[in-house]
Amino acid sequence: MSESKLKPEELAGNIKYEPKEKDWLDPSVEFKHGVFNYSGIPKNVEYLQQPNPRKWQPTDKDWQLPENWKQIILEGLRDRLHRFRSLQIFMDICVRCGACADKCHFFLGSGDPKNMPVLRAELLRSVYRNDFTLASKLFGKFSGSRELTVDVIKEWFYYFFQCTQCRRCSVFCPYGIDTAEITLLVRELLNLIGINIDWIITPVANSFRTGNHLGIQPHGFKDSIDFAVDELEQITGIKVDAPINKKGAEILFITPSADYFGTPHYYTLLGYLALFHEIGLDYTWSSYASEGGNFGSFISHDLMKSLNAKIYAEAKRLGVKWILGGECGHMWRVIHQYMDTLNGPADFLEVPVSPVTGTRFENTRSTKMVHICEFTADLIKNNKIKLDKSRNDHRKITFHDSCNPARALGLIEEPRYIIKNVCNNFFEMPENTIKEQTFCCGSGSGLGTDENFEMRMRGGLPRANAVKFVKEKHGVNFLGCICAIDKATLPPLIDYWVGGVDVGGVHELVGNALIMNGEKERTTDLRGEPFSE
C-alpha cells in the first residue's frame, strides 16, 4: 500500500456518520408520562413463567435487573444470531442508505431522530458491533459501536416500544430488512431480564387462561354472542344461529375477541352473524380459541407459538375441515408468516373450499385459514348474496388499510371490492398513505394504552392527516378498516386530529347492505342509525 493512501483510522475518521449533529450513541432518555407503557404486573409475569417478576416502572431509577443481566442479554443475542439467519443478515446488511428514515409514522409525528427505523435498529446494531464483530476492535467508536449499559437497556425499552411493528419502513428498504422482526427480537431480549409492558403480558396471560385477551370466561363469551343474536333479531327480524364449540362443523371461525365485547367492533360481529346465516354456513365459534389476536407475537416468538397453537388444536378437537378468520390485524401476520412453521403443517385439515361458491382457496393450502374478506369478495363475485348499496348512503366511506393484512398478507383489493359493492360513496385516501404504503394507527403491537396516549397521537398523525384530507375534500364520515386494534384506537385518534368521522369494519357495511331472506322492513343500519331517505 502506498504511503499516500489513508490509514484505516484516518479513513474511518473521515466517514461522516449520519446523523452527525448529535451524538446518537448517547443512550440517555427521559421517561415522561404519556409516552411510555407501564410494566407487566408481577402476577401475570409469574403466571406466564417469564423471568424476573417484580414491581417496577420505567420511571424508577433502579429497574431491579438480575445481577448477570448483561450476560443474559449478550448470550440471548448470540443465541438468536445463530438461530435466526434473518437477524444476522439484518445486523450486517444495512448500508444506512436512509430510504426508511422518513417512512416511520413515529418519526413523522414526533420528529425524534431515533424513531427513524435505521437509527432505531442501530441502537441494537451498535451493541452487536461492539460485542460480535471485528469492526469495533479496529475502529472503536467510529464503527458505531458502544458498550451495553443499563442506560442502553432503558433506551431500547423506550424506542423499541415506540415501534408498532407495522413494517412500512420495510416496504422501502432495498434489502427488505424487516424492522418488525428486529423490534420483536429486542423486546424478546428485554423480556429475558424481566423488561416488558403490561398491555402485552396481561393480555397474553388472559389468552392462555380463558382464550381471549380480556380474560372473558366461556360463559361470558357465550352471553356476548347470544346478546348479539338477539340484537340482530331486533334489527332484521331474523333469529340467526350462532353455534359455539360445535363438533363436526365444516368451518371454525376465529376472530379477535374485541369483536364480541368492543365498540365499534360489535357492529362487525352483527355483520358476520347476518352473513353466515344468509349463506347457510355450517360453522362454529370456539370458547377455547376465542381470540384471533396474538399478543405473544409482540414480545416473544415462544409465546406467539403457544397462543397460535390453540387455533389448530381447536380445529382438530372440533373436527372441522378448515378455518375462517375475521377482521384482525396482526393475527394475519402470524398466520401468513409464521403459523406454518410454528405449529403447522395442518395436514389434518382440508384445503379450504367455499361451500357456497365452490371456490378453492389455493393460496391458503398451507395454513388452511381464509380471510373473511377473501371469502366475502368471492361470494359477491359469484353473485351469491343480495346487496342494497343504498343502505350505506348515509356513509361517505374511506378505507384504512390495516398494516398487517395489507403488508403481511397482501390483502389489498378484496376489502375494496367488497366496499365498492356495498356502498355508493367510496373515496380513497392519497396513494402514499394506503395499500402497501398505509400509515399505521400508531397503537399496534401492544402500544394502545391510555398511559401511552400522547405517543399514540404522534404515531397516528400521518394516518389522521390523510383522513382529514378526504373529509375536507369529499365529506368522508366513515373510516372502514379490518383490524381490531384499529377499531379500538382510531376513534380517539380521529377525535383528536379530525373529528366527525366514525370508525367501523368492512363487515359492518356488508351487514348494513345485506338483504336477508325473510327480513322485516329495515329502517336502520346495524348501529341503529336511520338509513338516509
Binding site: 404519556g34 428514515a101 420528529g111 392519497p430 391510555d450 400521518p462 377525535d495 383528536y496
Partner: protein, 159 residues
Amino acid sequence: MIKELLIKNKSKIVDKWIQSIYNSYPPEASKFLGNRKDRFGNPVGYIIADSAEKIFDEFVNNNNNERIKLLLKEIIKIRAVQDFTPSQAAGFILSLKEVIYKELELEVKSGNYFNEFILIDVGIDNIALMSFDLFMEAREKIFQLRTNEIRSRSMKIID
C-alpha cells in the same frame, strides 16, 4: 406604512419564521421538516409551513382573531403532543417578532414606524395568548380522551 413593508418582505420573513419553528426540533428532524413537497409524507413540516404562512397573511391583512385561531390550532395540536414544554409548544409565535425586527432592522432603528411596531408587538402578544388557550384546549382534550378510554375499559370489566 409598515403593512406594505411586511407584504413586500413576506417571503423572507415567513421563511425565516418557519425555519425557526423547524429549528425547535432536533437538527436531523428539522432538515427533514424543511422538505415540504409531500404534505402526506411530511405532515408536520407541511402543516407548520402552510399554517404559518396563512397566519402571517391573516395577521397582516385582516387580523381576524377567529381565523387566526383556527390556523394556529393546527400547529398547536401537533406541538401539544410532542416532546416540548408548554412554553416551547405554544411560544413559537413569539419568534415571529424577532424575525420581523431583524428583517426590518433599518425601519425599526429609524423610529419612523414606532407606533406601528407597537401594534405589531401587541398583535403578536395577543396571538401568543391565543396559543396558550389553544395549548390548554388540546391538553384538556387529551386528558378527556384518556379518561374516556380508562372509563370504557373499567365498564367492560364491571359488565
